[in-house]
């Protein structure tokens, strides 16, 4: 458990950075870092405070063959970064804005007739503005733009899904210019925690099968309240 008391949270972050947590405690912190902004800020602050203590470890030349081993391991993995640049700040914005929006969204959704477990998310822009409403519908997804805006000429918006634990996002297709889209059941299986992203791509979509342009909207599917 990550304590909610700020002082205890800070003490935990300090000992995580210091290295004195046992394996189980350290793993708990590591798992919480991507989703707990307060913990992440506390850990970053302690890394910054104590970081220069590493100067006490004298430099040692590594074994000459080590680089070849690293290179071979890196080559054996998917080359493109899983989380594109810019999502760092987007994520933070998303984390702070999503809660408030979820409350409003929940009020909207409970008025609807009950259906199989419904999941929703609101994709936020880098400025924390709600931009797209995403809902599961009959095993697929439905998207609606909340703030229709003109696209850059010669660019399209491509929709992606990243399942929890998956290493690469799956393309769900190009979003039509009119700002509404549906994803047929079977293309993906929506699940709680799934990350939904929209990236800017050249006409016809990403040539690599991964997002190549900036991710401009992002959100995470969660069960809708009231279902």
């Amino acid at each position: 458990m990550i304590p909610s008391d700020p002082e205890m949270l800070d003490a935990l972050a300090a000992e995580y950075v210091l290295g004195t947590l046992d394996a189980r405690e350290a793993e708990t912190v590591r798992r919480a870092l991507p989703v707990d902004a307060a913990l992440r800020d506390a850990v970053d602050a302690w890394e910054a405070r104590l970081g220069s203590l590493t100067a006490l470890a004298p430099p040692v030349a590594p074994p000459p063959a080590l680089w070849d081993r690293i290179e071979a391991s890196v080559a054996g993995r998917p080359a493109a970064p899983v989380v594109p640049l810019r999502t760092g700040r987007l994520w933070k914005a998303w984390a702070t804005g999503a809660t408030a929006i979820a409350a409003g969204l929940a009020a909207l959704l409970v008025l609807r007739p009950a259906e199989p477990p419904r999941m929703t998310t609101v994709l936020l822009s880098s400025r924390d503005q709600p931009a797209w409403l995403v809902e599961t519908e009959g095993g697929g997804l439905r998207l609606a733009s909340l703030t229709p805006r003109p696209l850059e000429p010669g660019r399209v918006q491509q929709l992606w899904a990243l399942a929890p634990g998956a290493t690469a996002p799956v393309s769900l297709g190009i979003i039509p210019a009119e700002g509404r889209a549906t994803v047929a059941p079977g293309v993906i299986r929506p699940e709680p925690g799934m990350l939904i992203e929209i990236s800017v791509e050249p006409p016809g979509g990403s040539p690599t099968g991964r997002p190549t342009g900036p991710v401009i909207f992002i959100g995470r599917l969660a069960p809708a309240a009231g279902t």
């Binding site: 290295g19 046992d22 405070r49 220069s52 590493t54 080590l66």
Partner: protein, 182 residues
């Protein structure tokens, strides 16, 4: 002009790794390998294990480069943190059953001149002052944990103090350090 800022160069190289630039990871490795291997060696005290840690850390650097934000932190500490945690993970996986019976272990890190070496690192003059202001045992506990990856129990054995006392010292030392650096 013409003066290079190695930290800035490394930050640029990390961004190049994030952008998928060929050769960028190798450039970063060549610039930082000795420092990073030294950090892993101080914790693991075993060349094979330290090589494993640096290997694991460089894979993490390759996959996490996009999360590095030069506005939020410098390259050196970011890389150092990844290597330290990779080495700590290995140390924990081995139950920290590492050679700690070396009578000289950690002496260099807690020797009086050690603080001078911290001061050589950029922007760390304040950390040096704040460490110097701590009681010696608080300081030694923090340094042995951070630099050598010793557990509470190992620090307690080394300083010949009860485990609970050492835990309390370290916690208090960290709190004072935070106050001093604020």
């Amino acid at each position: 002009m013409g003066e290079t800022n190695p930290g800035m160069d490394d930050a640029g190289t990390i961004l190049a790794v994030a952008a998928g630039e060929a050769g960028a990871l190798r450039r970063l490795y060549e610039a930082q390998a000795s420092r990073l291997f030294g950090i892993a060696m101080a914790i693991l005290r075993d060349r094979d294990a330290a090589a494993d840690a640096l290997h694991d850390a460089m894979l993490k650097v390759a996959s996490r480069a996009a999360q590095f934000d030069p506005l939020r932190g410098e390259a050196g500490p970011w890389l150092g943190g990844i290597v330290r945690h990779a080495a700590l993970d290995l140390a924990r996986a081995r139950g920290r059953e590492l050679p700690t019976d070396d009578p000289n272990l950690g002496d260099a890190a807690i020797a009086p001149d050690a603080l001078e070496r911290i001061a050589e690192a950029q922007q760390s003059g304040r950390l040096r002052e704040c460490l110097a202001a701590l009681e010696a045992r608080n300081r030694e506990g923090i340094v042995l944990a951070f630099v050598h990856g010793l557990s509470h129990a190992q620090i307690a054995a080394r300083l010949d103090e009860p485990l609970g006392t050492v835990k309390a010292w370290i916690r208090r030392g960290l709190a004072r350090l935070k106050g001093c650096l604020a």
